[in-house]
Structures are given as structure tokens and as C-alpha cells.
């Protein structure tokens, strides 16, 4: 029985708290798998996992397109921290791109006709709408965006 418990314990290895990915859209598959593993580890409800994916897709795709301007071999790191006793799980996205503070970026106005719906610019509004909290920090040579999501009590 003890042996079985030990083996079972080895099979439930905690997911790595940090994901390092390249600045390529293909690497988002790594991100989805990693988020799924974090969701399983921390018992994140499916609606919250959806919001996490939405916000991380937005943050990471902005870095790939605008921060790194399509250069494919630059690193993006995403960390997951669930501080004990806190009611938020935090995802921190870091890059080595020129300064960009999405909290200070202008939100596109809500369109009033279908002709006005822009091709882009929805992302910042979605980020603000679906994140529980957002914090930006300029790093020496990079950016750090911390996105928090409420956890069930």
C-alpha cells in the first residue's frame, strides 16, 4: 500500500511554475498545455481558466507582434503563483521588449455600427474586462505584466 501511494505520488508531479516560450504563435500550444496543468493543480474553475487563456493570449500575442515585431527566437516567460491564503492566482508575463504598458494604452471605443468595428484594438478592453487585477512594471530592458484571477474560496 505504501509503495502504491508513493508511485501514485510520483505521478502527480506539480507543473513547473515557470514556462519559457519563444516569440512564435506556434508556442502558444505550449502555453495552453501549461495553463491546463496549472488549472488542474490548483482546481481552477473552467470559467476562470477561460479568462486566464483569454488574457494570456492577448498579453503574449501583443509581445510577439508589437514588442518583438515578429522576431521568432526571443524569450517570453510566464510564471504562475498562488500565494497561500491569498484569494488570487497570479500569472506574470515578462519580456525583453521596448517599454509597453497595456494599462496606460488607450482602449478602442465600443463600436456603434458594424463598419466601425476595428480589426484590432479589442484586446486591451478584453484584458481589462476579464482579469481580476492587472499590474505593470517596467524592468531594466523589459516589461512585466502581472494578471490576477479570483480563486474560489
Amino acid at each position: 500500500m505504501l509503495m502504491a501511494a508513493a508511485i501514485s505520488g510520483e505521478n502527480t508531479v506539480m507543473p513547473e511554475p515557470r514556462l519559457t516560450m519563444g516569440s512564435r504563435f506556434e508556442d502558444l500550444l505550449l502555453l495552453w498545455n501549461w495553463v491546463e496543468a496549472q488549472a488542474a493543480e490548483y482546481g481552477i474553475p473552467s470559467e476562470t481558466e477561460f479568462a486566464i487563456q483569454l488574457c494570456l493570449e492577448e498579453a503574449v500575442s501583443n509581445i510577439i507582434r508589437h514588442g518583438y515585431r515578429g522576431r521568432p527566437h526571443l524569450a517570453i516567460t510566464v510564471d504562475c503563483v498562488a500565494p497561500a491564503g491569498e484569494q488570487e492566482i497570479l500569472f506574470t508575463v515578462e519580456d525583453q521588449a521596448p517599454p509597453f504598458d497595456p494599462l496606460a494604452a488607450a482602449e478602442m471605443p465600443i463600436p456603434t455600427s458594424i463598419d466601425e468595428i476595428p480589426d484590432g484594438g479589442r484586446g486591451i478592453r478584453l484584458l481589462r474586462g476579464f482579469a481580476g487585477s492587472l499590474a505593470y512594471q517596467r524592468l531594466p530592458g523589459g516589461n512585466r505584466l502581472t494578471i490576477g484571477f479570483a480563486m474560489p474560496r
Partner: protein
């Protein structure tokens, strides 16, 4: 990401999307969505089996919808799951592209 089409009575084209409308999903359906939209005036976009929608995925729905409306056509979004619907609502798209959960109401809105 899977995409299929069906011609309904009244000149309505039903596009059924199935899968995740993330960046990869959006890229997978973009061309076909635009081709279908180019030859349709009444478009029912069936989102029932879309499990995720990001901002790029929404663009892949909005762009063809815009081209149909620009030619005097109509577009409705059909039966998204709650979280997918909340993405449309957060963007204000739901007031411009009506969302219906009953097929008869969706079809009626296209007449």
C-alpha cells in the same frame, strides 16, 4: 478547428465552427470564412461547439460579417456558450451582430 457549411431555406448559409478560436484556430478558418462570406447575403454563424474565443478569433468572425453587412446582407451569431458570449458582450459586438439561442429566432432575424 473544424468548419462546415450548410445551405438552409431562404438563402441562408449556416457556418458551423467547432473547436478553439484561439490564434491558431483563427488562422485555420480565416480564408474559408472570407470565401463563404463573399458569396452569402444571409449568414448564420453557429458557435455552439466553439469552446474558446480570443480577440484574434473574434476578428475572424467580425471581418466576414462586416463584408456581408456592407453588401446589404445580414449576419446572426447562434448559440455561443456563456463564456464565448461574454467575450462578444465585453467588446460591444453583441449589439451589432445579434446573438440568438433558438434556431427559429436566428432564422427569423435573417429574413
Amino acid at each position: 478547428m473544424q468548419i462546415s457549411t450548410e445551405e438552409l431555406d431562404g438563402g441562408i448559409t449556416r457556418i458551423a465552427l467547432d473547436g478553439r478560436m484561439d490564434i491558431q484556430g483563427a488562422q485555420a478558418v480565416d480564408l474559408k470564412m472570407n470565401l463563404i462570406a463573399g458569396s452569402s447575403r444571409k449568414l448564420l454563424i453557429d458557435l455552439e461547439k466553439v469552446s474558446f474565443l480570443g480577440s484574434m478569433g473574434m476578428g475572424s468572425i467580425v471581418r466576414p460579417a462586416r463584408s456581408v453587412v456592407a453588401r446589404g446582407g445580414k449576419v446572426v451569431l447562434f448559440n455561443p456558450v456563456e463564456m464565448v458570449e461574454s467575450v462578444f458582450k465585453a467588446s460591444g459586438i453583441d449589439t451589432l451582430l445579434p446573438i440568438h439561442h433558438e434556431l427559429t429566432a436566428a432564422i427569423a432575424a435573417l429574413q
